[in-house]
């Protein structure tokens, strides 16, 4: 399938680089056997842009320079996607909690939090329209 977005970092469920949504919930894919995923809906970073166009969350990551080296980004975005799907108006603590399982070894969490917060505001105003 040549889908290379999901990254294996630690391979032990610590770093979150391999985060995918399994039936809508973020999981560490390194700790899910392929056979266990049989019959489930798996969403990866590849499903987030449409027709070559980034979605608002991805645009926000770009604007805030939240990708940095980029290795953790596919996982962080899937965790953030899940957060914004269950909570349209997260506060900073809720954002931090949602990405607690995603290591960024560039350690630029500020930009990531800002990007998620702005995407939430954008999405909320879109819903109001």
């Amino acid at each position: 399938m040549y889908l290379l977005g999901v990254k294996e970092g630690c391979g032990e469920g610590e770093c979150g680089a391999c985060t995918v949504l399994m039936n809508g919930k973020p999981v560490n894919s390194c700790l899910v056997l392929a056979v266990e995923a049989d019959g489930t809906m798996i969403r990866t970073i590849e499903g987030e842009s449409k027709n070559g166009k980034l979605n608002p969350l991805q645009e926000s990551f770009k604007k805030h320079h939240a990708t940095q080296c980029g290795f953790c980004t596919p996982g962080v975005i899937m965790s953030a996607t899940s957060l914004l799907e269950r909570n349209q108006n997260p506060d900073e603590e809720e954002i931090k909690e949602a990405i607690e399982g995603n290591f960024c070894r560039c350690t630029g969490y500020r930009q990531i939090i800002d990007a998620i917060a702005e995407a939430a505001t954008l999405l909320e105003s879109e819903v109001k329209k």
Partner: protein, 276 residues
């Protein structure tokens, strides 16, 4: 890398037992996999057969039985417990403890029963279940047997489970519905570390105080009951110190752990534990 293994996903309790009987010690139960798959990758465990219990629909349920007891199935995840409104309303300490396990992603896979069966001295659910006087429901060849959770832990990562048995659910007695209970945990980093130590407390309607301590002995420790109408703090602290044997490790020294346990017990007795 994982060694090769066979994978079975039985659809019933009986099939699980039959599979366990066929493969004996070569078989391991797979629930959330957040501990087992790590051990397999690290070559600490090398089961030839994995028996996935998630194929039995009842095991994913959180139920209340006819006696009002809470029943949590073996495939119920930590986040299922955190998000369950009935548990949050009536047994909130279980949600509090479950929320401290791993990260959000881990809690979407890790099961509360798995946390117990892994039998780590640091198991977050152990303390909460111990102070709620929970009962482990074990499926065996001859039907179910139930044992109080205080008799379930027998050593580091060792339980009283016998061959061809597995835990199908955990039961919290109705007596503890709406009882005051709380949980405190110290860890170096949230989301990525086991606890340095933890403590849980409950105050039952019939005037008993139960206190459990984690990461301070080879198993989670339940202290003898205390009388909530006549609290003797000095006695409680002495009993606690006599019941634990903490070690020095990378998460903290034994002196630090002893200190934390005393601080936690005072906070819990003063109603300063976390709850939802």
């Amino acid at each position: 890398m994982l060694n090769s293994f066979s994978y079975y996903k039985p659809k019933s309790e009986i099939e699980i037992i039959e599979t366990l009987k066929s493969f004996g010690d070569d078989a391991k139960i797979l629930a959330g996999g957040t501990d087992l798959l790590v051990y397999m990758k690290q070559q600490i465990a090398g089961p030839k057969v994995l028996v996935d219990i998630k194929g039995v629909p009842d095991f994913s349920k959180i139920d209340v039985d006819s006696g009002g007891n809470l029943i949590i199935g073996a495939a119920v995840t930590c986040n299922d417990v955190v998000e369950n409104q009935y548990i949050r309303n009536h047994f909130p300490v279980l949600a509090t403890a479950a929320k401290t396990i791993g990260s959000y992603q881990i809690r979407n896979r890790a099961t509360v029963v798995g946390n117990i069966c892994n039998a780590s001295p640091a198991a977050d659910m152990a303390g909460a279940f111990l102070v709620l006087d929970a009962v482990v429901i074990i499926a065996t060849e001859k039907g179910n047997r139930e044992i109080p959770i205080k008799h379930f832990f027998v050593g580091v990562k060792k339980t009283s489970l016998q061959q061809n048995e597995f835990v199908k659910a955990i039961k919290v007695p109705a007596d503890y519905k709406d009882a005051e209970a709380s949980y405190l945990k110290a860890s170096r980093i949230k989301g990525h570390d086991l606890g340095t130590c933890n403590a849980a407390m409950s105050r039952s309607k019939n005037g008993k105080i139960k206190i459990a301590i984690g990461s301070c002995n080879i198993t989670p420790v339940l202290l003898p009951d205390f009388d909530s109408n006549n609290i003797d703090l000095a006695n409680i602290l002495t009993t606690a110190m006599n019941s634990i044997k903490p070690i020095d490790d990378l998460r903290g020294s034994k002196e630090y752990r002893k200190h934390l346990v005393q601080v936690f017990i005072k906070r819990l007795l003063n109603g300063k534990g976390h709850s939802h």
